[in-house]
Symmetry: C2
């Protein structure tokens, strides 16, 4: 018999399981023509002995060969290399072309989607980075997520969640969210009022496609979150800007605008306005609701930062005191779990949710059900609440350290107001200090800092404000970062 | 000291880990006011003894209390209930309202998205179901997916994949796909020609939004896949139909149409046309490419079924012999892994991929990176190829069994041609047998069967054809299903 053991190499340090190494090894020997069709393979006991491994591992390898049709069992004789070997792979009908032959452009015209705000994704090379205010991915509860996924593998309900599911999102998640929103935000809605989306981004998109026609007027704060404005403009919106002060967007300016023009939609970040981190005051919230009723516009309330509060209690959403169905409330787990975990939600009256669900079905049919079920269970068993408590404590400490150090080391060079929550500080550089130059110097020292150009819709004469994310830096990194900033000014 | 052990209930059979049961139990005792702020907690050694559990478990519980600020350490004394207890939850500023108070409709008008094809998701109650042709979720490689997720938890690269990523999709996945498409389909493209989407559905959506203006003409086969037509109509398309015979869509009819009218886009399923399961012949493929060049229209090639072939080798995609950039190729992992795993891709010249990437960023920013990385690795290590081999073998057997039984037991009642691959059989009922009546009878016997009404765009006088999915039924179920069908005719 063939000394098969000499042809099989097993390496227990490889990530590929041993049984697969054996199965793949045998397939490769068959493919090379060394083991011919109809050859008897050694018994599992024999091969286990030869290879000095457990017999069960060999049995698993043989099962794999059977499943892939490389081997066949002959009753009372043993396992043979199949007489009819599986087709290895379809052969190209044309000789292999070089990639370069693929057409460079289409043979028909393509609509140009222009976007002045579009910033392509760039992988960071710098060791340290002050970002625009993201959570620390090192704190993401990956273990808990994986525990949920593992649960799926063990239970029968996997099949259910792996088949097509509802375009409105997981029923369990909508039930749990209904409870969570009521407990944390005084927002008492039924699961029928909730649509699960891919992050807040998809909620902006669906709302824009449903509510905006070409030329419809949309009000946003300036400075503001350009990522949302881009979605409104893509839907044909005519953007109108109102100023932002320490109490949030200026609702007097909104009223003045409403008196002159028909407004369709107003976009507002009620907690920690991006970029300036201010919270919309209760008085202005009531004023906004009154204006929405009077002038019949919709409010898109982007409360992505509600769950991160360090100095004071959050103010309940506009949606929780809206009796006339004017407010569309948007939230997300992207900040709570991790930016790459793309699960968000929108809350609105049922007729809008139904239309948004129809459109969502056309856009991408449904969300990631397994992920939605995992998050539902993490809400149910309290994991999300515990994780929020932990991370709030950590981010609170980081905010304090960053603010203390900036005040101590960079006094006179920049000013800021301690943010009450969220992930970033809004800092003004002193006269004569250019954010772009600081960014350039810091980059040479291995630190990425925003250069201050992406916050205003209307072009400024000069930029002297920068949004500085602190949440994704640990204590040591914050100390380093402030040191480098100091050397860059 | 308080007999704390009597107040704590530990149940090792619960899914909640014991340390969390202890931590949660203590929090609950604190909340009830039984343990007051400033109370000394028993030492971990002491509590472990009292509860008869390992001391490490108690330490983990105490760490949790510390992390959540319910307890604080006093050096050289021990652990105390915190003097300042964490805020339990923000209180509603208004008395709790009933859900029923939430506005039933919006206070502004919402665009009605009508869709004649829209079929809301309905959870199945019947025990057995002949679906429209889906893979068997019981065969989904969930274990392999979970193995990949677990890998993320162990390695440093988790942070990278948890942060914001590229809107074009995971670089690793695009690299692996470029290799996979070349190996399996003779489609030699660079990763720059690939956009990762949420299933084939999102590719249809992005292409429609970029290529179609109101009134643009789109050609589809009739009968055809209404799910795609719905997307074209949503973008304002004017649908034109061509017949489908045993060689796929009738390209002579396409040519006749092109001579009369300007066509913008043609949608084709080259393998196992949905619903009729026919494969587009090589001659017609060449004819289509020639027509696309001559009349300057785009071809949307939906090759979702390429990897499931039982009787013959697949024919290479139109995209692999397209030299003028007319073809947009779409594929998906939803059939390979599971319908709920929403990862698909489109392949096209770079200018179209760039525009589609910009639009995708606006729609939902990016895909599920962890999932994309998991699939990239499953392609790399051969898991996908092995899984395809296994499932092809199983589906092949199921096709044969289902066809054999239908021929044997229902001879004279229905006719069909054995499909060469895919997940379904296209059957014509004999004159006098109504699919709707059969569906109704079968439903009473616990079996869901399509009633034959969702395949034609143009209303038919009568329906006598039904698409019967066999892939998600195992041997026993196939035997039962045919038996019930027989009793229903």
């Amino acid at each position: 018999m063939l000394p098969i053991q000499n042809l099989l190499q097993i390496d227990k340090t490889l990530p590929v399981p041993v049984y697969l190494q054996i199965a793949n090894g045998i397939v490769s020997i068959i493919k090379q023509g060394i083991l011919r069709p109809g050859t008897l393979l050694p018994s599992s006991r024999k091969l286990a002995e030869l290879l000095k491994i457990h017999r069960k591992t060999v049995i698993a390898a043989y099962d794999e060969l059977l499943a892939q049709s490389w081997a066949e069992t002959v009753p009372r004789k043993g396992l043979y290399v199949s007489q009819c070997l599986p087709e290895i792979r379809p052969r190209a009908i044309l000789p292999i072309k070089l990639v370069i032959d693929y057409p460079a452009t289409t043979g028909f015209e393509v609509a140009e989607k222009k976007s002045s705000y579009y910033i392509p994704y760039i992988a960071r090379k710098e060791r340290l980075s002050i970002n625009e205010g993201f959570p620390d991915t090192r704190l993401a509860p990956v273990d808990l997520l994986i525990r949920e996924y593992r649960r799926f593998a063990n239970y029968k309900f996997t099949s259910k969640f792996l088949a097509y599911g509802p375009s409105q999102g997981s029923e369990n998640l909508r039930n749990e969210l209904s409870r969570f929103l009521s407990d944390t935000r005084g927002l008492h809605v039924s699961p029928a009022n909730i649509l699960i989306t891919k992050g807040a981004q998809m909620a902006f998109y669906l709302v824009s496609q449903l509510l905006l026609k070409n030329g419809d007027r949309v009000v946003v704060g300036d400075p503001g979150y350009l990522g949302a404005s881009e979605v409104f403009e893509n839907a044909g919106a005519d953007l109108h800007f109102v100023p932002v002060d320490e109490n949030g967007i200026d609702t007097e300016a909104v009223e003045a605008l409403c008196k002159r023009k028909k407004i369709r939609l107003l976009y507002v970040i009620p907690h920690h306005h991006n970029p300036t981190t201010v919270t919309l005051s209760s008085v202005r919230r009531m004023h906004l609701l009154e204006l929405a009723r009077k002038y019949q516009f919709a409010i898109l309330e982007d409360d992505y930062d509600y769950d991160f509060q360090y100095s004071s209690s959050p103010i309940l959403p506009l949606a929780s005191v809206d009796h006339s169905g004017q407010v569309i409330y948007v939230g997300s787990f992207c900040k709570i779990i991790a930016p790459a975990v793309r699960v968000g939600f929108m809350v609105a009256p049922e007729n809008l949710i139904n239309q948004a669900t129809r459109l969502r079905k056309i856009v991408d049919r449904q969300g990631e059900q397994l992920l939605e079920e995992a998050i539902a269970n993490m809400l149910k068993n309290g994991d999300i609440t515990r994780h929020l408590k932990k991370t709030n404590k950590i981010y609170h400490e980081r905010r304090d350290l960053m603010c203390d150090l900036l005040e101590e080391k960079l006094s006179g060079k920049l000013t800021f107001k301690r943010p009450q929550g969220g992930f970033a500080i809004w800092a003004s550089y002193a006269a004569g200090i250019s954010p772009a130059l600081v960014a350039e110097k810091a980059r040479q020292l291995g630190l990425l800092v925003p250069s201050g150009e992406k916050y205003y819709h209307e072009k400024q004469k000069r930029y002297d404000e920068v949004r500085m994310g602190f949440a994704s830096l640990d204590e040591k990194e914050i100390r380093e970062v402030v040191e480098i900033l100091k050397r860059s000014m």
